[in-house]
Symmetry: C2
Subunit: 364 residues, 2 copies
Amino acid sequence: MKTLLFAREDISRIVAAVGFDRLMDDTICGLSEACNGFDSEAHSIPVRSGFSYNDEDSKGLVEWMPVIRYGDRVVIKLVGYHPDNPKKFRLPTVISTIMTFDTRTGHATNIVDGTFLTSLRTGAASAVASMVLAKPDSRVLGLIGAGAQSVTQLHAISRRFDLGEVLIFDTDVSACTTFADRAACAGVELPIEVLPMQEVLSAADILCTSTSIDVGCGPLFEDQAFVPGLHINAVGSDFPGKIELPLALLERSLVCPDFRAQAIAEGECQQLGENDIGPELTELVKEHDKYADYRDRTTVFDSTGWALEDLVMADIMTSLGDEIGVGRSIELECVGQDPKNPYGFIASQSKGLETLLSNVEHWA
Amino acid sequence: MKTLLFAREDISRIVAAVGFDRLMDDTICGLSEACNGFDSEAHSIPVRSGFSYNDEDSKGLVEWMPVIRYGDRVVIKLVGYHPDNPKKFRLPTVISTIMTFDTRTGHATNIVDGTFLTSLRTGAASAVASMVLAKPDSRVLGLIGAGAQSVTQLHAISRRFDLGEVLIFDTDVSACTTFADRAACAGVELPIEVLPMQEVLSAADILCTSTSIDVGCGPLFEDQAFVPGLHINAVGSDFPGKIELPLALLERSLVCPDFRAQAIAEGECQQLGENDIGPELTELVKEHDKYADYRDRTTVFDSTGWALEDLVMADIMTSLGDEIGVGRSIELECVGQDPKNPYGFIASQSKGLETLLSNVEHWA
């Protein structure tokens, strides 16, 4: 029984074949379609849960984000959030693995690294929300936070809006300094200006906040006058007590969560009553005409990260893997000829090298 | 960043190096030690949850079983239970994957197939419970159910008791017919007799029930006279409404769950009030002298499957992998030099083939 592995090398091969732009475009389209066709009866998506800890040596959390598409597959992302990773270990804050399972048998069909893909789909989700809620002629993108997430925010928004300039602020000056180089890695060649937060806030048509602000330390700024029709993608808030935006701003805006129940627990929606929360992303996409009037008003996409987005990524990897012939096939499960014999799997162990060599051939 | 993969080939290599008996012995010892040293403050183990479904094409469930050892690692097993697998797909009923994560960074340290290991540790758990609660001179092992789990039940018990004979019953005659061959695969060379259920029940010193009885169809048998001091390992009950043992038997026995909260939700303990439930496995092991008197009375180990057992298996694989030099190293995560650049991971993509070839060398 074959399990397809999409590890760093495999995803690199996909990128080499199709490029970052097509990957982002496919993600934006895939997510739009998934939202448009979303049938809540055909899926079950519980609010994620996990272990969080705040010790001297380990501060962060490991969570599981499961989704089932009934009669098809289960997708579970296992995701770590460790804000000290960049400084202490030169590792990304968010690291994750996506596994998919066939609901007919429970067989693990795919193991997919989620570290890059999570960043990609989080960017894509902001693009999808912005396409409904931001002014179509938005020219100035403001970024608060210059970490990994802000690069994919910029990349995604730049694929759907004719941006003229990018303004960025981060309390970490070195992150700002390197931002343009990282954006160039994604193929984004726009003028990027590092500015004080206040200047970013007052000039942006679309604003993305993606910071690692600590629990209890938000909001990032106070409510104030913004450019008319500002749309904000609030990406950083994803834990109880962690918020980025001021309540007054939320109260006078249309606030749309990706996943209402989770946004109430972990997102900007923590600050709001049930009745002050707008439509979810799926409804926004399905009823985009209905919400077109909001393009002239202040709107917020409360992006906590949703398992449906990971299901879309798993689908895209499978489909691109098929198209390009990428994805390593491994025999993960100890299964032999007789399903009732747990010890029978060792019979064909000598095939290992043979399989590996055929992979090499396939790769060469 | 390296992730160690223990797939079918790798686990086969470990078995080839140390044999099934040492693997079972290590598992029994590892689990005994883990129970003996278990500190509930140093771990968090939520009751597993998951998706269950009962459609025409897919009937079963996919669950996640997480455990954290604070300051060390998170272990999550993703497990499918699909009772039609053997007949429809020639696949085991239970298929699973274990992933481990470093709590300092969230990095995925291991991907381990859990299909064989789950069966192994479920057998080992019964051996650990039986060592405390069964008569030390138990000679007759009775097995109700002749599927995959019963093979590891037999193997495990045979490693700790001087068994003279094995009596087995299953409603599926063909499963009974092939049982001796499967037991031989595990290296168990005891006389095995297929008998009507009643005769198995009335002769066993230790009884293991591991059936796929449907929800609402239990118990398997009615209460009756057993051999004095009978110890039962009830392995099959692991879902709300699924039970194997009759209430009257439970009420007059010491019933010890592996994990109380889960056994109340899914195990034989569903049938009991809180006050009728005995000590958990960890307490049994820690206080084995205190429970020695129960060897002459009827006792039940209510084994629902516990995440600590999977943590033990992950530890054993890591340790044996180290000892023998087994476990394939893969670069799973898309991580580059700059943790703030999600697109930076492709830099070293050309190393793929090189890495693979060095693996081949390592294997040859």
